[in-house]
Symmetry: C2
Subunit: 368 residues, 2 copies
C-alpha cells in the first residue's frame, strides 16, 4: 500500500484561475475538480446563453465570485483567466482550443482532442506559438495508481518486457444516448465510440508499451456503426516491430467494462477499473510475477497479489493540480511548457487516425 | 458459493478400465485422475519400451495389478481395456485414435486433437463406426465452475447477449522447452502454441458464444515462429454474424496468464485461471451486472462480486468420471455415444484450422 501523491510545488503561489467554456455534463466533474484542487480557482464560465451558465453555476455550487458569460469568447477575453478547460464537442475543439491558445490561455482539452491528427497539430502548434501548456483530459493517467502500475511494468524482474496487452472500454448507452448524444452525431463527435471509449484503450496500450508508438494498426473487422456512419463499437490490434501486440474492444453497446491485462516476459498486470476507479480514494490492481505451477500442474505456486493505492485527491483533481502546477511554472517562473503531454496526446490521436484509416481501407494494416 | 458436482450414475457398476498409451508428462496427471475417479480403474499402460512403462508406473504409484506393455498395440489388444487415454504427440493422434476406435476402445484424446479437421474427422468417424465415445482432454470444461459461469453467461438478466470476449493463454517456456519440446517440433506438434495454448482460448471463446461457430476468423498479424516454422506466439479475432467478436493471444514466450473477459449487454464475467485453477478444490470468477456510475461518474455504484465454486474432485477427475459415465452407459445400458463432445472438439479444431489458413493467406479473413 502506498500513497505517492506528490506535493504541488506551487502551493505558495497565487492560484491558477480557470475558465470553462461549455456546460457539458463532464464539466460538472471538472468544475468540482477545479474547486477541490489546492492550486486553482474557478474564475469564469461561458455558455452560449447566460441563463444556462447561471443554472449550471448554481447547480454545481460555483462560488459567487465566478464570472458568468454568455459566450465562449468572453471567457477567452477575460484577462484574469489563466487557463481554460474545453469540454465542447470534438468538432469544435480546433476552433476554440486554437482561439484560447492565441489569447494566451493554457488549454486543458477534453478527449478525443480532435477529429484527426491534422487538426490536433494545429491546436498543438497554436499552444506552442502561444507559449501555453497543453494537456488532454485523460484523467486516469494522473491517478497515483497509474504511477505504481508503471513502476511494475518497467520492472525488469517483476514484469520484464511487454509481450501483449488486451484492453477494453464499453458501456451500454441507453436509447436516448444512442439517438441524441453528441457522441453519436457525425457533425459533433464523428469518432463515436472510438473517440470516446477507444481513446482510453489506445492510451492504455501505449502506456503498457512505455508510450512507444506501434509500427502498424489494423482495425478488427465488422465494426458497428449507426445510420449516420458513426462508430458504436469497434476494435483494433496494434503491432510493434519487436512482436509486441495490443488488442482492444470499445463500444457504446456493451456492459460497463474497463480492463487492462498486460503480459510481459516475467509478469502480468490486471486492472478492471482503469478509467474510473470503483472508489474515489482508493484503487487497486493485481499482479503476478514469475508465476508457475506446482507438481503435476495441479495448482499454481502462488496467486496474484492485489495492490491498493490510496489517493487523498480524486484523479481528476490530481490532473487539474498537475496541469496548474505546470501553468504556474510558465506564468511565474519562466519555465517552458511540458512537452510530454501534447506528445502523449498526439500518439493517441495518431493511433485513432490509423484505426479510422484501416476501417476505411478494408481493414488493411496502416503503418504509423 | 455452490457445489454442483453431479453424482455419477454408474456408481454401482463395475469400473471402467483405462489403458494409457504413451508416458507423456501430462499422463502423470491423468493417471492420478483415473486412480481418483470413483468409476474407473487404471488397467494398462503401454510404452514403446517396457522399462519406461515400469519406471513411469512406479513413479506414479500405479497399483501392482496394472498391466505394463512394451507397445501401444498391446494395450489396444487387451480385451479388458474399455477405454484409452491418448497423450501422444499430435501427429500420432490420427493413427492411434483410429486404431483404438477400430478395436472398440473408447477414446479420451489429448488436445490439440489433430493437425487439422480432416484428420479429426477420420478420428471422429472411426469412433462413430466403432460405437465408442470420443472426448478431448480439455479439462477446464469439466470443472463445476464452468457450469456456474455458463449459467451466468446464459442469464438474460445478469449477462444478456454476448458482445465481445477477450481471452489469452501464455506461459514463458524455458530454453530447453523452446529447443526440444515436442510442442515446438514441426514433425510432432506442428500447431505449436496455437494448438497447445490457443486451443484453450478458442474453446473459451466458443464457450462464451454458447458454442456457436463464428462466421469468420482473422489471424493477428506478425505471429512469431521458430526456425522450423512452428508458431510460438500468435492471436486471432473471431467474428459472428451478429457483431459478436472474440480476440485472443496465445504464446510460449510470455508470462503464465490465462484470462477470459466476456462482456454482454448487461454483464461482465472475468476469470484469470480458467485452464488450471489457482487451487485444486476451490475456484472463483468475478461478475458484475447492470453496472453503472454514481453521481458525476465519481465512482461506481457497485463493485464486481466474486463467486467461489468448490469441487470435491479436481477438474481432470471430473472429466475422467464424466467420460467413464458415458462409457458405462454405452457398455452396460445400450446408450449411444454422446455427440456433444466430438462436436465441441470439431468446432475448436475448425477455428484452429481457420487461424492457420488466415496466417498462410496473409491475414485474410477465413470464412467458416
Amino acid at each position: 500500500m502506498s500513497n505517492p501523491n506528490p506535493s504541488p510545488s506551487s502551493s505558495s503561489s497565487a492560484p491558477i484561475r480557470f475558465g470553462i467554456i461549455g456546460c457539458a455534463d463532464i464539466a460538472r466533474k471538472l468544475s468540482r475538480a477545479i474547486l477541490l484542487s489546492p492550486n486553482t480557482t474557478l474564475h469564469a464560465l461561458g455558455s452560449r446563453s447566460l441563463s444556462k451558465a447561471q443554472a449550471f453555476a448554481k447547480s454545481n455550487n460555483y462560488p459567487p465570485s465566478t464570472k458568468l458569460y454568455a459566450s465562449y469568447d468572453a471567457v477567452l477575453d477575460d484577462p484574469d483567466v489563466d487557463a481554460v478547460y474545453i469540454p465542447l464537442p470534438t468538432s469544435l475543439h480546433l476552433t476554440w482550443a486554437v482561439a484560447a491558445a492565441r489569447k494566451g490561455k493554457h488549454v486543458l482539452l477534453e478527449k478525443p482532442t480532435a477529429l484527426n491528427v491534422a487538426e490536433l497539430d494545429q491546436i498543438i502548434d497554436a499552444c506552442e506559438e502561444g507559449g501555453v501548456q497543453f494537456m488532454d483530459g485523460t484523467m486516469w493517467t494522473h491517478h497515483p495508481r497509474t504511477r505504481v502500475m508503471s513502476d511494475f511494468l518497467q520492472d525488469s524482474q517483476r514484469f520484464g518486457q511487454l509481450h501483449y496487452v488486451q484492453t477494453c472500454f464499453s458501456f451500454a448507452a441507453d436509447n436516448d444516448f444512442l439517438e441524441n448524444d453528441i457522441r453519436v452525431s457525425p457533425d459533433l463527435d464523428a469518432l463515436g465510440a472510438l473517440g470516446d471509449c477507444g481513446w482510453y484503450c489506445i492510451r492504455a496500450s501505449l502506456f503498457a508499451a512505455n508510450y512507444e508508438l506501434p509500427k502498424s494498426v489494423t482495425a478488427l473487422r465488422n465494426p458497428i456503426k449507426n445510420k449516420a456512419g458513426v462508430l458504436l463499437s469497434c476494435g483494433a490490434s496494434l503491432h510493434w516491430e519487436d512482436g509486441r501486440v495490443a488488442t482492444f474492444n470499445c463500444s457504446f453497446l456493451s456492459h460497463l467494462t474497463m480492463n487492462i491485462s498486460a503480459v510481459g516476459t516475467k509478469g502480468t498486470l490486471r486492472v478492471t477499473d482503469f478509467i474510473i476507479p470503483y472508489e474515489e480514494k482508493s484503487a487497486s490492481f493485481s499482479t503476478l510475477s514469475n508465476g508457475g505451477f506446482g507438481e503435476m500442474t495441479l495448482a499454481w505456486k502462488q496467486k496474484p497479489s492485489e495492490h491498493i493505492v490510496n489517493t487523498e485527491l480524486p484523479q481528476e483533481v490530481v490532473m487539474v493540480r498537475e496541469f496548474s502546477t505546470l501553468v504556474e511554472g510558465i506564468k511565474n517562473r519562466g519555465l517552458a511548457p511540458e512537452k510530454k503531454w501534447p506528445t502523449l496526446t498526439r500518439k493517441t490521436q495518431l493511433v485513432i487516425d490509423a484505426v479510422v484509416a484501416s476501417i476505411a481501407q478494408g481493414f488493411e494494416p496502416i503503418q504509423i
